[in-house]
């Protein structure tokens, strides 16, 4: 009996060690993926608003020039309102949204929601097998009152734990494989895409300069109209105040874009770090060994907790 128990414990320990150290994404890598994914998903709507503002600023400039009758003559009707059109914005927003969608996917892949489902399923399996065991035991006891259930409660718990550990390992193995493949595929696209976005959206990029020029020009137009105004002093003051407001808005316009480009660069750096970390996990390194120990410790703790949970909910089986 004691020999059997020792063999069982050895088997469990070996299984846990082997499964924990082979082909699983470390918790830190999963955390990087989750954080990165969450940040990327939040970035798209933040970057979309400034792009729309650029076009709106151009339209406002056209309207103010028309109101002042100082609009340049001979404008092409198609581009009268703004030289940046909706398609230009839509393309950049589409790319930012795809990056955001990618962030969502990364976070979903790194999420432990499915692992919780595996835990719950393995626990249900324990209950279901316990049910069969009891039914079979009851049949046997009708023939012979001292008959035991075919399988002991401890063996059922071990079986359920093995299903849980193996299920989790297979899940982690598949997850690492998928994340590695996807980050490698995205790794070829994200750096040049982010470079292009950063080049356009930086403080010296076409969007920021266009925005600043539209705002300062509108401000000058309003100021001039205020100076020339022969109507009520209140109207005159309103025009000059609005001109001043736009001038300070123009000064802040560049920091608006700078924030977006900084976030994009961080995303690119973070994605590269994630890709490298996932690739490194396929090789045996000191860092990996340390990580594996940590992983093992965490896994053992988890298994202990899982076993304790099973003990608490052990079905009544006669031995």
């Amino acid at each position: 009996m004691v020999t059997t128990m020792i063999a069982r414990i050895k088997f469990m320990a070996t299984l846990i060690v082997v499964l924990s150290t082979v082909g699983c994404a470390s918790s830190s890598t999963k955390q990087i993926a989750t954080d990165l994914g969450t940040e990327a998903a939040a970035l798209a709507p933040l970057a979309e608003a400034p792009l729309l503002e650029v076009r709106n600023a151009q339209i406002r400039l056209s309207a103010e020039q028309a109101a002042s009758q100082t609009a340049p003559s001979g404008w092409d009707e198609g581009t009268k309102e703004a030289s940046i059109d909706r398609d230009d914005i839509a393309l950049r927003v589409a790319l930012l949204r795809e990056i955001g969608r990618y962030g969502h996917s990364l976070a979903a892949l790194a999420s432990d929601g499915e692992l919780e489902r595996i835990d719950a399923a393995a626990k249900d399996l324990y209950g279901a097998l316990g049910g069969i065991n009891s039914t079979l035991g009851n049949i046997e006891r009708k023939k012979k009152s001292t008959a035991k259930d075919p399988i002991s409660a401890d063996d059922l718990a071990i079986l359920s734990t093995v299903v849980n550990v193996a299920g989790r390992w297979y899940f982690e193995h598949e997850r690492l494989k998928a994340m590695r493949a996807i980050t490698q595929q995205a790794g070829r696209l994200i750096p040049p895409a982010v470079d292009l976005l950063v080049e356009e959206l930086s403080e010296k990029g076409s969007w920021a300069l266009s925005y600043e020029l539209s705002l300062t020009s509108t401000s000058k137009e309003l100021y001039r109209r205020g100076i020339l105004s022969t109507t009520q002093p209140a109207d005159k003051r309103m025009l000059i105040e609005e001109a001043t407001r736009l001038r300070s808005q123009a000064a802040g316009a560049l920091t608006h874009f700078s924030a977006v480009t900084k976030a994009l660069k961080k995303f690119d750096d973070g994605h590269k770090a994630l890709k490298d970390a996932l690739e490194a996990e396929s090789t045996v390194t000191v860092r990996n060994a340390t990580a594996s120990v940590e992983l093992l410790r965490a896994e053992v703790m988890r298994i202990k907790a899982y076993k304790a949970m099973l003990d608490a909910e052990k079905p009544t089986t006669s031995k």
Binding site: L61, G74, D76, A94, S105, A121, D124, F171, E200, R224
Partner: protein, 146 residues
């Protein structure tokens, strides 16, 4: 027909609208040239002396006409510069289209992988359902036998 200060023809405008780029040197040269001209004119038009002449009702009509012409010239330069920025933006549209499409493919693969992972826990759920069905079948068989 040519338009704007830059003298682009309608054909050139159309060319830009469909996503073709002018040579990079031409766009950057235009940008530099217009920016320099705009800076020079702005230095004059933003001065207090200019604004005082504009505000002075005694400014002679011919001088006022000249002031207005200068202001209009600046607006043309502003418009031309905005147009050059837009050219640079439109020149990148084709690359953005490619990135959007390629990222879409990556996302499809990522979503398929997430579905694949979900199936792993589904398989254990299936085993649970099977075990429960077996238990029910045995219990039913026993009750019939009794």
């Amino acid at each position: 027909m040519r338009s704007y200060f830059t003298g682009r023809t309608h054909q050139q405008t159309l060319h830009l609208k469909v996503g073709h780029s002018m040579p990079e040197k031409t766009i950057n040269d235009s940008r530099k040239e217009i920016t320099e001209a705009l800076d020079k004119l702005s230095a004059l038009l933003d001065s207090d002396a200019y604004m005082e002449m504009v505000a002075d009702i005694d400014t002679p009509p011919d001088v006022r006409k000249q002031l207005n012409a200068q202001w209009s010239a600046r607006n043309k330069l502003v418009r031309a510069l905005l147009d050059v920025y837009a050219m640079q933006i439109k020149a990148n549209n084709a690359r953005f289209k490619e990135f959007v499409s390629a990222m879409g493919e990556v996302n499809k693969a990522a979503e398929a992988a997430a579905d694949g992972l979900k199936k792993i826990s589904d398989r254990i759920q299936d085993a649970v359902a099977l075990a429960k069905a077996v238990d029910n079948a045995i219990q039913a068989a026993v009750s019939v036998a009794v």
